[in-house]
C-alpha cells in the first residue's frame, strides 16, 4: 500500500476505561478517496476509536496517524483538514445557526461563506433560527454544514443520518460522493446497513473492543454462508449454509426437490453473524 495515499493509519491502538472495556489492539488503514464504513453493536468501541483519532481522549498504547501526521503531536494541523460530525450534534443553545457556522469557519481561519451558503441551500437549513429551537434532524444538518464547509481532506461522520428525513439522507450521500470524487476520504460510523451498502468501499466490524474484520462490502457477503431456500418433500425451508455445497447436494439425494434457490446472504445477515459469533 502506498503510504502517501494512507489517510487513516491506526496501529495497535488500545484504550482502557479502568473496569470498563474500551478498545484493544486495533489496527486499520484507510486509503485516500475511499468511503470507509465502521460498524459494530452498541458499546463495541466505535466512538472510542473516533474520539481517540481526533484527540478527544488519550489512548494507552499504539499509534494513530491521520493525513500522515501523528495525532498526539500534530493535532491542530490535522483538525484543520478534518470535518467531524458527532452523533449528538449539540451546539450552544442561545446562538443562531448562522453564528455557529460562522464561528466554526472563523476558528479555522477559512472563508467558507460560499460553500456554507451552498450547503445550507441544499440541506434546507434555516440559518436565522436559534439552536435551541431546532429538532435533532435540523441540528444534524447544521453539523453537516460545519463539517463540510471548509472542504476538508478527511470526513469523519458518527451516525450521520439518524434524525434526517429520506430526502436529506439522499442529499447527504450525494454530497459525500461529490467531495470524495474530488479527492476527499470519508469514514462513516453507522448502524444503518443500507447506507454501508450504498456508499462504502470497505467496512470494518468492531465487537467488544476488538476488530473482527476489514473487508469490501462484496467480500463481506460473499465470504460467509449462502442462503438456501428450497421446497423439499413438499416442505418449504430456508436457512444459512456455511459448509461445502457438494455436501449439500449429497444430502439432497433421494429427496423430492421442487424448488432450490442459492443466494448470497444480505449484508444484514452477514453483519448479524459477526455480531453473534
Amino acid at each position: 500500500m502506498d503510504s502517501e495515499k494512507t489517510v487513516i493509519e491506526i496501529s495497535h491502538m488500545t484504550k482502557n476505561y479502568g473496569k470498563h472495556r474500551g478498545v484493544t489492539d486495533l489496527s486499520l488503514t484507510v486509503e485516500q478517496g475511499k468511503v470507509f464504513g465502521f460498524l459494530g453493536p452498541n458499546g463495541a468501541g466505535k466512538s472510542t476509536t473516533i474520539r481517540a483519532m481526533l484527540g478527544f481522549i488519550r489512548f494507552d498504547s499504539g499509534r494513530i496517524r491521520l493525513l500522515q501526521k501523528d495525532i498526539r503531536s500534530h493535532r491542530e494541523e490535522i483538525l484543520a483538514q478534518v470535518g467531524y460530525m458527532p452523533s449528538e450534534a449539540m451546539f450552544y443553545p442561545t446562538m443562531k445557526v448562522k453564528d455557529v457556522i460562522r464561528l466554526a469557519a472563523q476558528v479555522r481561519g477559512v472563508d467558507c461563506a460560499q460553500e456554507a451558503r451552498m450547503l445550507c441551500e441544499r440541506l434546507q437549513v434555516d440559518t436565522e433560527k436559534k439552536i435551541r429551537e431546532l429538532s435533532l434532524g435540523n441540528r444534524k444538518k447544521v453539523s453537516i454544514v460545519c463539517a463540510m464547509q471548509h472542504r476538508p481532506r478527511l470526513f469523519i461522520f458518527d451516525e450521520p443520518t439518524s434524525g434526517l428525513d429520506p430526502l436529506m439522507q439522499t442529499t447527504f450521500f450525494e454530497l459525500i460522493r461529490e467531495y470524495v470524487n474530488q479527492g476527499a476520504t470519508c469514514m462513516l460510523s453507522t448502524h444503518v446497513l443500507p447506507e454501508v451498502k450504498r456508499c462504502c468501499d470497505h467496512v470494518a466490524i468492531l465487537k467488544e473492543g476488538h476488530l473482527q474484520c476489514v473487508e469490501t462490502v462484496a467480500a463481506l457477503t460473499k465470504a460467509r454462508a449462502k442462503r438456501i431456500k428450497w421446497v423439499r418433500d413438499g416442505r418449504q425451508e430456508e436457512f444459512l449454509y456455511d459448509r461445502d455445497l457438494n455436501e449439500l447436494y449429497r444430502e439432497l439425494e433421494g429427496h423430492d426437490i421442487t424448488e432450490l434457490l442459492i443466494e448470497e446472504p444480505s449484508l444484514e445477515e452477514a453483519f448479524i453473524e459477526y455480531y453473534r459469533a
Binding site: 478527544f56 450552544y92 443553545p93 466554526a104
Partner: protein, 262 residues
C-alpha cells in the same frame, strides 16, 4: 483565538450586566442613603463601635459608621465584597465544565485549536468579566458620591477595590480549577465555597484563637474597614492569595489539557 474569546464574552454579557447593575445599584443606593442617615448614624456610632464581637466582625470598631468612609466600609463594602465574590464564582465555576455538561465539547474540540489555548482564552474571559464588573460597580459608586456631593476618598478606595479584584480573581481561580475537573454544573459548590470563606473571615475576626489563621480566607486581605481605615494592605494575605491563584490556574491547565473529553 479571538473568535472563541468573543464567543465566550457574548455568552456572559447578560450575567455581567445583571450582576453589575444589581450589586453596583445597591451600593449606589446605600451611598445615596448616607445623607439622610448621617445624623442618626452619628448618634448610634458609639453604640455600634461598642458591640464587641459584632463590631469587630463588621469592622465598626476600626471606622466610625457615622463617617462616609466608615459607612461605605460597613454598608457598601459588605454588599460589594459578597456580591463580587459570588459573581466571581458565577463566571468561573462552569466555564470549563459547561462544554461537557452541554455536550458542546465535540464541536469545540473538533476545531483546530489546542486545548491549552482554550483554557487561557476562557481564563481571559473570566478576568475580563471580573474587571468589567468592578469598573461598572465602581462607576456606579462614583456616581453615588457625585450625586451625594461628597468627595471620593480616592487613594484608599482605589486600594480597596484593587484588593477586591484580587479577591475575585483568587476565588475565580479556585472555581476555575474545580471546573477543570468537573463534567457537570457545579455552581452550587462555588457559591457554597464563597459563603464558607466569608463566614470564616467573620468568625476569624471575632475569635482571637483564629486571628493568626485569618489569612486562610481571601476576604481577610480585602477587608474594607482595615484598608479604608489604615490605607494599608495585608501583604502576607495578598502574597498567599496570589500564590493560591497561580497554583489554581496551573492545576486547571494541567488537568484540562490532560483529561478525556467525553
Amino acid at each position: 483565538m479571538r473568535y472563541i474569546y468573543k464567543h465566550e464574552m457574548k455568552q456572559y454579557w447578560k450575567t455581567l450586566l445583571l450582576w453589575s447593575v444589581c450589586v453596583g445599584g445597591m451600593g449606589m443606593a446605600c451611598i445615596l442613603l448616607y445623607s439622610s442617615m448621617r445624623e442618626e448614624m452619628a448618634g448610634m456610632a458609639e453604640s455600634f463601635a461598642a458591640m464587641g464581637a459584632f463590631s469587630a466582625a463588621f469592622g465598626m470598631d476600626q471606622l466610625s459608621i457615622a463617617t462616609l468612609k466608615g459607612f461605605y466600609a460597613t454598608e457598601v463594602g459588605t454588599i460589594h465584597e459578597l456580591g463580587g465574590a459570588m459573581f466571581a464564582a458565577v463566571v468561573s465555576m462552569n466555564i470549563l465544565s459547561k462544554e461537557e455538561d452541554g455536550h458542546t465539547s465535540e464541536f469545540l474540540f473538533s476545531l483546530p485549536i489546542a486545548r491549552g489555548k482554550v483554557v487561557w482564552i476562557k481564563w481571559c474571559v473570566v478576568c475580563t468579566n471580573l474587571l468589567l464588573f468592578h469598573l461598572l460597580c465602581g462607576g456606579l459608586y462614583g456616581l453615588g458620591f457625585v450625586l451625594l456631593g461628597e468627595g471620593i476618598p480616592g487613594k484608599e478606595l482605589l486600594l480597596y477595590h484593587a484588593m477586591q479584584l484580587l479577591l475575585g480573581l483568587e476565588l475565580a481561580g479556585i472555581c476555575f480549577a474545580v471546573s477543570a475537573f468537573s463534567r457537570q454544573n457545579r455552581l452550587g459548590l462555588g457559591l457554597g465555597m464563597v459563603l464558607l470563606f466569608y463566614a470564616y473571615d467573620l468568625v476569624s475576626r471575632v475569635d482571637p484563637k483564629l486571628e493568626k489563621f485569618s489569612v486562610i480566607s481571601p476576604f481577610a486581605y480585602a477587608n474594607a474597614s482595615r484598608i479604608l481605615g489604615t490605607g494599608e494592605i495585608a501583604a502576607k494575605g495578598v502574597l498567599l492569595g496570589a500564590g493560591v491563584l497561580v497554583l489554581a490556574l496551573g492545576t486547571a491547565y494541567v488537568k484540562y489539557t490532560g483529561k478525556d473529553q467525553m
